[in-house]
Amino acid sequence: MEHFNIFIKAVFIENMIFAYFLGMCSYLAISKTVKSAVGLGLAVTFVLTISVPVCYLLEKYVLKAGALQWLSDDYKSVDLSFLSFIMFIATIASIVQLVEMIVEKFAPALYTSLGIFLPLIAVNCSILGGALFMQEREYASLGEATVFALGSGVGWFLAIVALAAIREKLRYSNVPAPLRGLGITFILTGLMAIAFMSFMGISI
């Protein structure tokens, strides 16, 4: 039950985009059509679900204060947590590289439609954000961390697909010229975030 609760919380209440604004850059840039939004959303979910558990293991067995104790008692006082940024980003960058190679091999159409944005997932804040939130909230087990990552990914996916759908319709409406494009997208996201605020406080 605890796992399910974490999942729901990550999807709706602490949604990566609407509550923390993580991954906004690609969220705004790729949300012009639903098709590419779905592709990017899936890619982000996939990378998050793989990289956050890996970072969890790193954190637990290498980086945390006293984490190296499993080597020998001499390392009891070692605290490498200041290295966590560099370790996490290296892990994420290499996982992204791997995903890129897999997608290029098995789904070339998706690869061409995602274009430059696949390598940019490495610098998508939501991935590193997921890893850092995992570190800050100190999840109790690998399972909880994985569920959290999956939930955050699904939340991100929902948000980008919803926005892309709205923007496709928006093309037919008469928006004031200075607000066209970026401005209205910001305001739309804000309104969607207000809608998502109604989920606040739900727990199962």
Binding site: C25, A29, I187
Partner: protein
């Protein structure tokens, strides 16, 4: 993603150029308005919105981004000719991550309470698209000094929006500026309330949207075509 308008051609000959030539000045001041990283290039929004509830953390954040952006630009610009093209993203990330670790340790040592408020967002400077974008678009093909100015300018443009948004949110959300009360007690007695919606995350997006609206209606050439 980034709409490049500053394209500085490689200089043909070795001629002495003054430190603040018009071209360099443009590098420094263009990002404030015409080429603002947040409202025009749409970079680095992720962290910009989350830290703007109060002015103090957002000023600290702006300074941190400025420092990281300028110095990682310089470092990458120094080693740009020896970076193998295939692994350049990882090299850039490593340089930026090292800079961010320094800044993070510095913040923890000297302004611990602000560092606690910023929580994960200091770490997220690593993936701040402004920094990666400038490294990729500018530092990889320019000399150290212009790169430094470019980094400073972009950090400054980012900071400007951050300060404006946080000023609006702090003033209307809690009636304070920099932690000092500016709206006097008597107005509250007359029935004025703090607008608690402004503190909520969604309003940050709407405020930035409105800022973009204002900027584009004043600066017609930024309007997007349909």
């Amino acid at each position: 993603m980034s709409k490049e308008t500053i394209a500085v051609p490689a200089k043909p000959k070795k001629e002495k150029e003054p430190l603040f030539s018009p071209k360099n000045k443009r590098l420094l001041f263009d990002p404030l308005n015409d080429n603002n990283p947040i409202t025009v290039q749409v970079l680095g929004i992720c962290s910009a919105l989350a830290v703007t509830v109060k002015m103090k953390p957002s000023i600290v954040m702006a300074l941190a981004v400025m420092v990281v952006c300028a110095f990682s630009n310089v470092i990458i610009s120094f080693i740009r000719n020896i970076i193998p093209n295939r692994i350049r993203i990882i090299v850039q990330l490593t340089v930026v991550a090292a800079m961010v670790i320094i800044v993070d340790q510095f913040l923890k040592a000297f302004v611990f309470d602000v560092s606690k408020q910023l929580s994960v967002f200091v770490g997220l400077i690593i993936t701040n698209c402004i920094i990666m974008g400038r490294l990729e678009a500018f530092a990889m093909s320019n000399k150290p000094w212009p790169s430094f100015l470019d980094g400073m300018g972009n950090g400054f443009g980012y900071g400007l929006i951050l300060v404006i948004v946080s000023m609006i949110r702090e003033l209307f959300g809690s009636g304070e500026l920099m932690g000092f009360r500016v709206i006097p007690e008597s107005i509250y007695k007359m029935g004025y309330f703090n607008n608690s919606l402004v503190i909520m995350p969604p309003m940050a997006l709407i405020i930035v949207g409105i800022l973009i609206w204002i900027q584009r209606s004043r600066n017609k050439k930024l309007i997007e075509s349909k």
